[in-house]
Symmetry: C2
Subunit: 337 residues, 2 copies
């Protein structure tokens, strides 16, 4: 355990991230000091937001610096502890980055119970994506009983949980938008969505009009672009548009495209609002307890797609995410416990 | 008074409305029946929203039908009354369209006091534009004391009133964005805006950054396009973006351009919300009383630019509006009382 391998950001990507944008570097394994622990990273979370972190445009967190370890949510096991909060052998999640080992203040890590759910679930449905779905729908979307709810990126880590939370919280019609028949049937047959639209094969605006004849009350957007425009065209009076992400736009080399139909906010007296899960940190505990309950009674199904490999596989696995090849939470497994 | 001349919509404009899109038609003067009055139209209001009414895209009101009188707010004088609500000689405002005479149910017209303010003011600062500014800022923008408020289209009928209401309601910094030095100096020197940005000569995003170092709390948008993007880039945490209009985009033959920077709603946890003044009809009376008070004590200055002519001048006067040539409310005077 003397050598730690890291994936560092070498260049700022233009358009899609390419292998050249990263470099693998070896350094001596760092030594934890008081209050810190050394963690062996087992799993790296792949998230659409990573593309933003690689860019130096103004955002909600500073960009990853050139030459710095690529930021990433991770799950791992404590191998050395200088804190009484964590002991060797404890499984933890935290933002340790794309590297084989990391040190962190024990307070910055969350111990998780792998007896209750698999480790990767804490990077997905019972982790940041799940919490993002929860607060986006309930706090920003102001979800009300009987609402017609539409979710884009519905087969992804956030979207798949959002649809199930909507049903658990009493929504009426819940429609998911996703990009392959296998995803759509998973949403409807396994997760209990009322309907799904395959945006690669169907006319989204027309299908939304058919499936939501009284309009959309809450639209939870993970994708931006044409699908956001199709949803805006179908809003109900007083609708809430929750801006969670815009994965269709993150790799556009010529800049983001804005929603052409945003004046429907005026026509339908609707609002569009952005948020970040971190704003709700004080409510994480209550939300996770509620979600764990739904998971236990079968109302919340979580799914992870785990790619086995090493930190070298980070870029190709991230591209899998941007191409929409995953169903559920995409995770890169880089070591076994 | 046997012949009534009307301007009717002959074709749906593509891009900017052209003279060919309208036709002048003579018809017999209509006869009012029970509850109705006949009004001699004196002034026609020119409003950016008119462009939308000419289009058959889905909107908040049905489009003007081909062959129908062009919809317009008007001010006029009652010449014949079959209602005890109004008497001949009363001055009224209402939506009578671009024609020399119109009949309407007396209940659909509002009698105005030309002793308190000139007739045209009731099409401007003490009419729909003033009310739009009022409810957009207070209800949708949720204006709070000390807020930094930015208003685009600030020298127009709505924007010029919005900035003054913001000051009257206790806003901190109020910045207007307009398109000529004469407009900018009017905003600052006459109306009490704290600063103005000439978007034709200055870099809007950079100037907003300088003038609003803590970010924009309320952005009242009348224009859309690049200026909306510049404002989005400068939002404060928790900002409210009020979508009132998008005059820069209405004549785009290749469709609206959406705000590229809309993801700043997420970065700054902000919301963007549309509205229409008609939603607040029950509160008109209170708002108008408050505004009349401000007008009486000098806190609200209203200005109208009155073009003298006939209904034939409707299209060129509308183009004056779209080219931003007016300061304050633009009105076409087609007759004298």
């Amino acid at each position: 355990m003397c050598v730690n391998r890291q994936l560092r950001l070498a260049k700022r990507p233009v358009g899609e991230p390419s292998p050249d944008d990263f470099e693998i570097v070896e350094e001596e394994t760092p030594t934890p000091t008081d209050g810190e622990v050394l963690v062996k990273v087992l799993q790296v979370s792949l998230d659409p937001a990573m593309r933003g972190w690689m860019s130096d445009a103004p955002s909600y967190v500073p960009p990853v610096g050139l030459g710095e370890v690529m930021r990433a949510g991770t799950a791992g096991v404590v191998v050395e502890s200088h804190s009484d909060r964590l002991a060797p052998g404890d499984f933890v999640v935290g933002i340790l980055g794309v590297q084989e080992q990391g040190i962190a203040d024990a307070k910055a890590l969350t111990r998780v119970d792998t007896g209750m759910a698999p480790l990767a679930t804490y990077l997905g449905g019972l982790g940041m994506p799940g919490l993002t779905a929860y607060f986006g729908l309930t706090e920003v979307g102001d979800l009300r009983e009987g609402d017609t709810v539409v979710i884009s990126g519905a087969a992804g880590a956030v979207g798949s949980v959002a649809g199930q939370i909507a049903k658990a919280k009493g929504a009426g019609q819940v429609v998911g938008i996703a990009g392959r028949p296998a995803k759509c049937s998973w949403l409807v047959d396994e997760l209990g969505f009322d309907a799904a639209i395959d945006y690669k094969r169907e006319h989204v605006a027309r299908r939304l009009h058919e499936l939501c004849p009284n309009g959309i009350n809450v639209y939870f957007d993970n994708v931006g672009g044409d699908i956001l425009d199709a949803a805006l065209a179908n809003l109900a009076w007083g609708a809430r548009v929750v801006i969670c992400g815009a994965i269709s736009q993150y790799n556009a080399a010529d800049g983001m495209r804005g929603p052409r139909n945003y004046m429907m906010l005026l026509v339908r007296r609707a609002r569009m609002q952005g948020f970040l899960v971190f704003d709700y940190v004080k409510q994480y505990g209550d939300a996770l307890r509620e979600m764990a309950g739904w998971r236990a009674d079968g109302r919340l199904k979580t799914r992870e797609e785990i790619v086995s490999g090493s930190i070298e596989d980070f870029q190709p696995t991230l591209m899998k995410l941007f191409r929409g090849e995953n169903i559920g939470k995409l995770v890169l497994q880089i070591a076994e416990p």
